[in-house]
């Protein structure tokens, strides 16, 4: 099974020269940061090799590699990972004769539903709808799918109508809100946002939701289901996954990592991190592809099979899976999961468990073999034993107690907050949110400002090198070079001269702290 990892379908990600991680030369790492930093020598760049599929700063939506895969007639068995179950084809409708009497899929365990004609519903900051090409509701962030079935019918009608003219609907713009459409056959996703985000940002969020659904079912199965029965009610298969989608949407509103296509690391002395990485590296198994240790929503370390790279989007889906479910606290979780950026056709099998019942440290072991549970369970035990033997566990536990740092550590009084991403490693660092950004609303507002800067600097046809925004509540600065992306938030009283000085000081600070804030020596088995 492990051999299958080297699947033809992953080739597109590694073949492309620009996507391959860049080899680093330690000698090139400069002590003081300069704007002309070569990619791979910026603060936070890994020393040997990156952990992730190297991503552009902005995911190119049109470059999805799976378009050709959709039509792959050989079915799920040809992909990496295993098909579901022992059957030849994953069965979508296993209930057999009773299927016809099957009631409407359950609404799941979500809190009270709201009136879809109410002012409150309309005023929601961001709606997300998922529907099938037959116009059947699959997911709605607010309000029940039943109540919205006619609205979703209209959405599908609009999509088909425009398609009938050999055209593709993208978005509708009105004063104060936009409606964005994403057609990813066999699904249609629609977002309605009152935010300042660009159409492109919103489309990318919908793409995340699409991948979230694919990660539960695989695209192959999804296509299979709708080929067999066009008006299938997909909610039956997705029952219980609504809160995963809900949570992912919340992450998209708040976590800069999803915006930047990057992951943040638990600040940790590099010696401790190295011990943890090598312990995890030693606890290997034939079928293991990735071993990932998380602390809350931060990465502690990631070990991967040689030549296999995890896409940040897939890692975010794993973060979301773990972060939105208490299920893995019950025991050792064992679940099939499709990593859509790796391969949309097959399932991996993930062993997911917390190191200790009340701990935030969660270990994810991703395997290609669905029968391998007990092997992986052993891997975890071996990892834990090794950690204890080398007394790294207390240091790790200590680190989880302070997963972030105040911005004051940098020593720039006007600086309120920042996000720094090292492009070559795909890792970012950001201090904890200070006042006045601690309330949920303010946090989302700050994220909204970063999203705004991000969409401006990464505009498809008019990208920028930098943007400085001076407003009444804060001053913002974004700067993108070939090596890094930097977003800063200053007090509204700060001057431009201070901002320019702050950048230099901050980059020096990050260089000084990079051992602690980034994973500089990623491991492979």
């Amino acid at each position: 099974m492990a051999a299958d990892v080297h699947n033809k379908k992953v080739a597109w990600e590694t073949q492309n020269g620009s996507l391959a991680p860049v080899g680093k030369l330690r000698a090139e790492r400069s002590d003081s940061p300069t704007p002309g930093l070569v990619e791979g020598t910026e603060p936070g760049a890994g020393q040997d090799d990156a952990m992730f599929v190297h991503t552009r700063s902005f995911e190119d939506l049109t470059a999805d590699g799976e378009e050709g895969e959709d039509t792959d007639p050989s079915g799920p068995a040809s992909g990496l990972g295993t098909p579901l179950g022992d059957r030849e084809q994953p069965e979508a409708e296993p209930v057999g004769p009773e299927e016809e009497q099957a009631p409407e899929a359950p609404a799941g365990g979500r809190a009270e539903e709201e009136d879809v004609t109410s002012e409150a519903w309309r005023g929601r900051r961001k709606h997300v709808f998922v529907l099938s090409e037959a116009g059947k509701p699959i997911y709605s962030r607010y309000g029940t799918e039943e109540a919205l079935s006619s609205t979703m019918g209209v959405m599908m009608a609009l999509v088909s109508f425009v398609e009938a003219g050999k055209n593709v609907i993208r978005s509708i713009h009105a004063d104060g809100y936009k409606v964005v459409f994403l057609r990813k056959s066999p699904l249609v996703l629609v977002g309605v946002a009152h935010t300042r985000q660009s159409e492109r940002e919103l489309t990318r969020e919908l793409l995340y939701i699409y991948y979230q659904i694919v990660s539960l079912l695989t695209l192959t199965q999804l296509n299979h289901i709708f080929q067999r029965k066009q008006n299938y009610d997909l909610r039956r298969l997705l029952a219980g996954s609504e809160h995963l989608t809900d949570n992912l949407l919340k992450l998209l509103d708040r976590d800069p990592g999803l915006l930047l296509c990057a992951v943040s690391c638990l600040p940790l002395p590099s010696s401790t991190r190295d011990v943890i990485s090598s312990s995890l590296q030693a606890a290997k198994s034939k079928s293991l592809v990735f071993s990932i240790l998380l602390a809350g929503n931060q990465l502690v370390t990631l070990v991967r099979k040689k030549d296999q790279y995890l896409h940040h989007m897939d890692l975010h889906l794993l973060f979301n899976l773990v972060g939105s479910s208490s299920s893995f606290r019950e025991g050792e979780g064992w679940t099939p999961i499709c990593l859509p950026k790796f391969n949309t056709a097959g399932f991996f099998h993930a062993h997911i468990s917390y190191l200790e019942p009340a701990s935030d440290l969660c270990l994810i072991l991703v395997s290609t073999d669905r029968e391998d549970f007990f092997n992986l369970s052993d891997c975890k035990q071996r990892f834990l034993e090794r950690l204890r033997r080398r007394s790294a566990y207390p240091a790790l536990q200590e680190a989880t107690r302070s997963p972030s740092y105040p911005v004051s550590q940098v020593g720039i009084p006007e600086l309120r907050h920042f996000v720094y991403k090292s492009k070559s490693s795909g890792l970012y660092t950001s201090p904890e949110l200070p006042a006045p950004y601690q309330t949920e609303e303010e946090q989302e507002r700050l994220m909204g400002l970063y999203q705004y800067l991000h969409s401006r600097v990464h505009h498809t046809t008019r990208p920028l090198r930098s943007i400085y925004h001076c407003g009444e509540r804060e001053n913002l600065l974004a700067w993108v070079t070939s090596g890094f992306e930097l977003y800063l938030c200053f007090s509204p009283l700060g001057t431009k001269a201070q901002a320019v000085m702050a950048i230099n000081k901050l980059l020096k600070w990050i260089r000084k702290e990079e051992d602690r804030l980034f994973i500089l020596s990623p491991q492979t088995y």
């Binding site: 209209v154 425009v162 509708i172 004063d175 505009h459 008019r462 090198r465 943007i467 400085y468 407003g471």
Partner: protein
């Protein structure tokens, strides 16, 4: 009419000088067009590798006006359509396209009943929706700019550039279409009251058939969003002279309700409401004046030059109404315009009279019939005075220019707009003509200005945005108390602090420190 020899001589001098500069401007104009073309060639690196690549600018696909209440029953959909361009489109397709717009508008009401859709983005085009009067919808469909390539197999492929068009710019163009219609026809409801659907259809057809041909979508930019008025800078003395001239004419001809005075396509004085003046100004500067520019540019003996026999004392002439007063066949009909009045609107005759670079608009109630006598009186009163004023202004202007020092290409270009008085000023636009608005900067930089303007319009607070484009140009946008200023700096090695200093200097010299934001 008092006029001594000396001043006549001065006229001749000024006229010759003026003409020369106009000639020079025309040459510059041509040169700029050529330069722009070469620039476009240079900026498309792909051109070198793939010769069969062809670029297409945004173009108007459809333009229609409909009222959903006019054909509510199935099978009657065609009745909703009041105007459709191009008319050759098959009936069912018209109905389908109108149906889509209705559906989009209806759909967005689910999310906000009071703020329905304003635009629809698709891969191939953008549609702009505007409801200027209740239930009357105007829709403009613009095809995205695109590149046609021939791939290796020799098959042509088309790539649409979906993020090139800026909504606010074309949304403003659509509103302008309505305002221009309204200026010459009054509201849609007025036509409905006067002659029902048939009259409205006829008016729409007549107006838009011509008007749509003058839309040059590829050269629309931020200035269309502002729809501002360029004011002519003038010293107090000359301004007072103009004012007393206007007062004198209005006193002599009490029929005149409103007057507007322009010089060199820039406004000096207007008695109209701001919004009416804004659209009238647009009409004068982009349509009427450019049409009469060519004869003036032509030599004195050119056959294009209108007959001026007898008019030895002045250079005044009517731009609207009869081209030659002496013609016994001349008809004294002037275009009618509609402006806002206390009880809705009022209909007026629009008389535009020009002498050299100075133009005056006289507006007279449409209920009055204008006669040959009236026109002759107006001509003899206004012609000599306006000629004199024009040369005064020209002289004054040249003096001011000399004082401000030798003209050297500045390191920056800017656009300024004041929302309160609609004043706009641009050193980016060389000249706005009927066909194209020529800018001296790269179109992508113009679009960055548009982006910054969109950012400003989201929040109603003072803001400043400074960006550095990939070409290393710096673009600065400032919004302060209803005023907006956009500066493009060609100082590639400057840093943020230096750029800030430069803009501060500009604000101090040009705008008297209106902008305070650090």
């Amino acid at each position: 009419m008092i006029c001594n020899l000396k001043s006549t001589a001065r006229f001749a001098y000024v006229i010759r000088g003026g003409r020369e500069t106009r000639h020079a401007r025309a040459d510059y104009h041509k040169e700029a067009v050529q330069r722009k073309i070469t620039l476009m060639l240079m900026i498309s690196p792909r051109m070198a590798t793939a010769i069969q690549e062809k670029q297409y600018a945004p173009t108007l696909l459809n333009f229609f006006v409909y009222n959903p209440k006019f054909g509510p029953r199935e099978g009657e959909e065609e009745k909703k359509i009041l105007f459709y361009h191009p008319n050759e489109v098959e009936k069912n397709e018209k109905i389908r396209n109108v149906g889509l717009c209705e559906a989009i508008v209806q759909f967005t009401r689910t999310f906000c009943p009071t703020k329905p859709a304003k635009s629809l983005h698709t891969q191939k085009n953008r549609q702009f929706f505007f409801e200027p009067e209740e239930n009357f919808w105007m829709v403009m469909v613009v095809r995205n700019p695109m590149t046609e390539k021939t791939n290796r197999e020799g098959k042509p492929t088309v790539e649409y550039h979906e993020e090139e068009i800026i909504d606010t710019v074309y949304g403003a163009v659509l509103q302008q279409c309505y305002n221009m219609y309204k200026l010459f026809n009054g509201t849609f409801s007025r036509a409905m009251e006067a002659g029902g659907v048939e009259l409205l259809k006829q008016k729409l057809e007549t107006f838009f058939y011509r008007y749509l041909q003058t839309l040059h979508l590829q050269s629309c930019d931020l200035l269309d969003v502002f729809g501002g008025i360029s004011f002519f800078p003038l010293d107090k003395m000359t301004y007072l002279k103009i004012q007393s001239f206007v007062n004198q004419v209005e006193e002599n001809h009490s029929l005149i309700k409103y007057t507007a005075f322009l010089y060199n396509d820039q406004l000096i004085w207007s008695g109209l409401e701001q919004d009416d003046m804004r659209i009238l100004y647009k009409y004068l500067t982009t349509s009427l004046f450019p049409r009469h520019l060519e004869p003036e540019l032509a030599g004195r003996d050119s056959p294009m030059r209108p007959e001026m026999a007898g008019n030895l004392l002045h250079y005044g002439r009517f731009l609207t109404g009869p081209p030659n007063l002496k013609d016994p066949e001349a008809k004294f009909r002037f275009p009618k315009i509609f402006v806002t009045a206390e009880d809705g609107y009022e209909e007026l005759h629009l008389i535009v009279y020009k002498a050299m670079s100075a133009a005056v608009c006289f507006m007279i109630s449409a209920s009055v019939e204008l006669t040959r006598e009236f026109c002759e009186q107006l001509d003899s009163l206004v012609g000599p005075q306006l000629t004199l004023l024009a040369s005064d202004i020209c002289e004054q202007y040249n003096v001011n220019r000399r004082i401000s020092g030798p003209e050297k290409e500045p390191q920056f270009k800017f656009i300024y707009f004041n929302h309160m008085n609609l004043a706009e000023k641009s050193t980016i636009h060389m000249r706005k003509t009927a066909s194209v608005s020529l800018t001296s900067v790269h179109p992508d930089l113009m679009k960055i200005l548009g982006d910054i303007n969109c950012d400003f319009s989201r929040v109603d607070e003072d803001e400043e945005i400074i960006v550095k484009a990939m070409t290393d140009y710096w673009v600065v946008g400032k919004k302060s108390d209803q005023r907006e200023l956009y500066v493009i700096l060609n100082q590639k090695n400057a840093n943020l602090i230096e750029v800030n200093e430069e803009v501060k200097r500009l604000c101090a010299t040009q705008f008297n420190n209106i902008f305070f934001l650090d």
